[in-house]
C-alpha cells in the first residue's frame, strides 16, 4: 500500500475543481487511456492575465487525481507569468510530498499546465503532437520531457527517471538511451562551485607517521599475499625510500610495484606530491 499524505488522501477523496469549463480560454491535455493516466486541464483567464478559474478531468490513480486537483487550487488567482513558473516539485510540495514511485503524477500536472499555457498563447498543441524525439515508446515520453525532469529534480538514475516520467517503466528497451540522456544532461548542468577545504599543512613528523601507518596497514598485507614484503628505509620530506624483501626483492617488475602500488597508495592517502624510490640493498 502506498503511503500517501493526509493531503493527498483529502484531495483524492474530495477533489476540488473537478469538471470542465465549457468556455475555457485554454485547455491542456496529456496522457492516454492506454498508458493508465491522463489529465485535461481547463483555464479561464481574464484580460489582465490573471487565472480566474481552473478545472480538471483526470483518469488515474489517487495521486494523479490529487496532483491535478491541488494544481487547479494553486493556479487560481495567479497571473500567467506566475503560473509559468510552477514546477512538478511545487505540486508535490503542496501535497506534503508524494511516494517517489508516484512523482510522475506531479510531472503530469506540470505538463498539462505547460500545454494549457501554450494553448493560451495560441500555439498549436495536440495530445499526439509531442515536442522532441520519443525515447520511451511504451509511454510516449520524449527526450525533452526527460531532460527537463532530470534538470529540475536533479535525477541521477534510470529508476529516478522512471519514477518521475514513467519513461523506461515498460519494456526497458530505452534504458541505454536513458542512461546517455542522464549523463549528457547532468554534464550540461552547472556544477556547484566546490571550495577546496582548507587543510592545515602536515608537519614532517605527521607525514612520517602517516606514511608508516599506510605502509604497515595497507601496503604490506597486499605484498604478503604474493610472498613479498616491504621495508621503509627513509623518508626525506616528500621522498620515500623503500626496499623490498621476500619474493619482491629482485623481482624484475618491482619498479612497477613501487609506482603502481606503493606510490599510488601513498599519494592517495598521504600527499599527492609524494615520490617513492626503491633502494636496492
Amino acid at each position: 500500500m502506498w503511503e500517501y499524505t493526509d493531503k493527498v488522501k483529502e484531495y483524492f477523496l474530495n477533489p476540488k475543481n473537478a469538471g470542465e469549463i465549457s468556455d475555457a480560454d485554454a485547455v491542456g491535455e496529456v496522457g492516454s487511456l492506454a498508458c493508465g493516466d491522463a489529465l485535461k486541464l481547463f483555464l479561464k483567464v481574464d484580460e489582465s492575465g490573471v487565472i480566474q478559474d481552473a478545472k480538471f478531468q483526470t483518469f488515474g490513480c489517487a495521486s494523479a487525481i490529487a496532483s491535478s486537483s491541488v494544481l487547479t487550487e494553486m493556479l487560481k488567482g495567479k497571473t500567467v507569468e506566475e503560473a509559468n513558473k510552477i514546477t512538478n516539485k511545487d505540486i508535490a510540495r503542496e501535497l506534503g510530498g508524494l511516494p517517489k514511485e508516484k512523482m510522475h503524477c506531479s510531472v503530469m500536472g506540470q505538463q498539462a499546465l505547460e500545454a494549457a499555457l501554450k494553448n493560451l498563447r495560441g500555439e498549436k498543441v495536440a495530445a499526439e503532437d509531442l515536442e522532441g524525439e520519443v525515447v520511451c515508446e511504451c509511454f510516449g515520453v520524449t527526450d525533452r520531457q526527460i531532460k527537463r525532469a532530470i534538470k529540475e529534480n536533479d535525477l541521477s538514475s534510470i529508476e529516478d527517471v522512471t519514477h518521475y516520467t514513467k519513461a523506461g517503466g515498460g519494456c526497458a528497451d530505452c534504458h541505454e538511451q536513458l542512461q546517455k540522456l542522464l549523463e549528457r544532461t547532468r554534464a550540461e548542468q552547472p556544477k556547484p562551485v566546490q571550495l577546496a577545504p582548507k587543510v592545515k599543512p602536515m608537519t614532517n613528523i605527521q607525514r612520517m607517521q602517516l606514511v608508516t601507518k599506510v605502509v604497515d596497514e595497507e601496503i604490506r598485507p597486499s605484498l604478503h599475499k604474493d610472498g613479498g614484503d616491504i621495508e621503509l628505509v627513509d623518508i626525506e620530506g616528500l621522498k620515500v625510500l623503500v626496499s623490498f624483501r621476500g619474493a619482491c626483492a629482485g623481482c624484475p617488475s618491482s619498479h612497477l610495484t613501487v609506482k603502481e602500488v606503493v606510490e599510488k597508495k601513498l599519494r592517495e592517502r598521504v600527499d599527492a606530491r609524494i615520490q617513492v624510490e626503491e633502494v636496492r640493498q
Binding site: 502506498w2 496522457g31 487511456l33 493508465g36 489529465l39 485535461k40 483526470t58 483518469f59 511504451c138 519494456c171
Partner: protein, 397 residues
C-alpha cells in the same frame, strides 16, 4: 469500521479452529521436535499427524509430503530438483500466466542458459493442449503449469496436460496454491510429480506450506542443513504452522461441493449485480472453468488504484491488476497475456471470496461500488466515444 474482506486469493484469515489447535505449540509445547527428550518428541508426533491429514486430503502417502515455508519455496524446490537431476536437459515449458514464483524462476533460469517455452493463452486465459504437445522436446526437463490462476481464477486442465507430459517421460510440476481446498483433488489419479501448496490461502497461517513429491520423482533439498523432513528440507520445523496447516486441510476438504455452490452463488450475484448497474464492464477469465470464489472484473474509464482506495474508505478489501497498484508501471502480466485491452486492464478489480464471505457483504459492495465508479467516471476525461491515445504500450512479457 467493519472490514469486508474480499481479497482471499491474496491471503485468508486464520480459522479460529486452526488457531486453537496451534496455540499450545507456541505456548507449553514449545519443544524442538528433533530433541531426544519426550518433551520435544511429542511435537514430532503432532507433526506426523499433520502430515497424515495433509496426505489424506490430497490422497497421497504421508512420505510424499514435505513441509515448506509456503508456495514460493515449494515451486522453487520442485523446479530446481527437476532440473538439477537432469543436467543434460536444458529446456523448460511453462505458461505466460504463472505466478511470479514460477515465472520469475523461469526467467532466472533463462539467464543460466536454459531455454523456456512460455505457453500463450487465449482471450479468456485458456491454454491450448496441442501447443503444449508441440512444445515438448527431447531435452525438456520439466513442464510447470499452475492448477488455478490467482488473478482470474481460471482452472487449467492439469490432469490431461500431466498425462500427455508423463507419456513422454518428462517431469511435471503444478503450482496448486489457489486450487487446494477449493475442490477435491486426488494425487492418486493426478499424474503430477510435484505439487506446491500454501497454508495462508486456506485459513492456515502465513509461512507454512507443503510440497508433494511423488515417490521416485527426483528430489534434492532446496534448503541445506539439518536432517529435518527426512533430510529433504532443513531447518527446525515451524511446528505451530505445520499443525495449523494440518487442521486447515482437514477443514477445507469438508463440505467442499456445498461450499463451492454457495461461493459460486455469491460470486455470480456480485458479478451480475455489477454488470447490471455499471456500463462498460467486462469479466476477465474463462466462464466455463473458474474457481467459484474468484471474480476478475474490469470497469472502463476508471483506474484500479482509485477504485480500491475509494472502497478502502468503506472497509472493502480487493485487488487490482492496474499498473498503479503493482509497484512498477506495468499492469498485470496475466491480463496482458490474455490480450485484455489496456483500457480494461487499468480498471480491473479482483474480488476473491472465502467461507467467511456473506451475502450482506456482497450487497455492501453492490450498494457502493457503482456510485464510486460513477464518481470516478465523472472526473475522468474519458467516456464512451471519447478515448484518445489508444496506442498500446509494448511491455516486456
Amino acid at each position: 469500521m467493519k472490514i469486508t474482506y474480499m481479497d482471499n486469493n491474496a491471503t485468508t484469515r486464520v480459522a479460529p479452529e486452526v488457531m486453537e489447535e496451534m496455540s499450545p505449540f507456541m505456548d507449553t509445547l514449545y519443544g524442538n521436535p528433533s530433541s531426544m527428550h519426550s518433551f520435544g518428541g511429542q511435537v514430532q508426533k503432532s507433526i506426523s499427524q499433520a502430515r497424515e491429514r495433509v496426505a489424506s486430503a490430497l490422497d497421497c502417502s504421508p512420505e510424499e509430503i514435505i513441509f515448506t515455508s509456503g508456495g514460493t519455496e515449494g515451486d522453487n524446490a520442485a523446479i530446481f530438483a527437476a532440473i538439477n537431476a537432469q543436467p543434460d536437459k536444458r529446456h523448460i515449458v511453462t505458461t505466460r500466466v504463472e505466478h511470479p514464483a514460477v515465472l520469475n524462476t523461469a526467467k532466472y533460469l533463462e539467464t543460466r542458459g536454459y531455454e523456456v517455452t512460455y505457453l500463450p493463452v487465449d482471450d479468456t486465459g485458456r491454454l491450448d493442449i496441442d501447443q503444449l504437445r508441440d512444445s515438448l522436446r527431447q531435452d525438456t526437463a520439466l513442464v510447470s503449469v499452475m492448477y488455478a490462476n490467482n488473478e482470474t481464477g481460471n482452472i487449467y486442465p492439469v490432469q490431461e496436460m500431466a498425462r500427455i507430459v508423463k507419456e513422454r517421460g518428462i517431469l511435471f510440476h503444478t503450482d496448486a496454491v489457489q486450487a487446494i481446498g477449493k475442490f477435491n483433488l486426488s494425487l492418486n489419479s493426478l499424474p503430477v510429480d510435484y505439487l506446491a501448496m500454501s497454508g495462508h490461502k486456506i485459513h492456515a497461517p502465513k509461512g507454512v506450506g507443503a510440497l508433494f513429491v511423488r515417490k521416485k520423482a527426483p528430489f534434492r533439498p532446496f534448503i541445506m542443513g539439518g536432517h529435518q523432513e527426512n533430510g529433504r528440507r532443513a531447518g527446525t520445523e515451524n511446528s505451530a504452522g505445520i499443525i495449523g496447516l494440518g487442521r486447515a486441510m482437514e477443514m477445507a476438504s469438508q463440505n467442499i461441493d456445498q461450499e463451492n455452490a454457495r461461493l459460486a452463488g455469491l460470486r455470480d450475484r456480485l458479478e451480475q449485480g455489477l454488470i447490471n448497474s455499471v456500463k462498460n464492464t467486462r469479466i476477465n477469465g474463462n466462464p466455463d472453468a473458474r474457481l467459484s470464489n474468484t471474480s476478475n472484473i474490469s470497469f472502463k474509464y476508471v483506474e484500479g488504484e482509485s477504485l480500491l482506495l475509494m472502497m478502502d474508505v468503506l472497509g472493502i478489501c480487493a485487488s487490482s491488476g492496474s499498473a498503479c497498484t503493482s509497484g512498477s508501471l506495468e499492469p498485470s502480466s496475466v491480463l496482458r497475456a490474455m490480450g485484455v485491452p489496456f483500457t480494461y486492464v487499468h480498471g480491473s478489480v479482483r474480488f476473491s471470496l472465502s467461507r467467511y464471505t456473506t451475502e450482506e457483504e456482497v450487497d455492501l459492495v453492490l450498494d457502493n461500488l457503482p456510485g464510486i465508479i460513477s464518481r470516478l467516471r465523472d472526473i475522468s476525461p474519458f467516456c464512451e466515444g471519447r478515448e484518445p491515445g489508444t496506442v498500446s504500450p509494448k511491455y516486456e512479457n
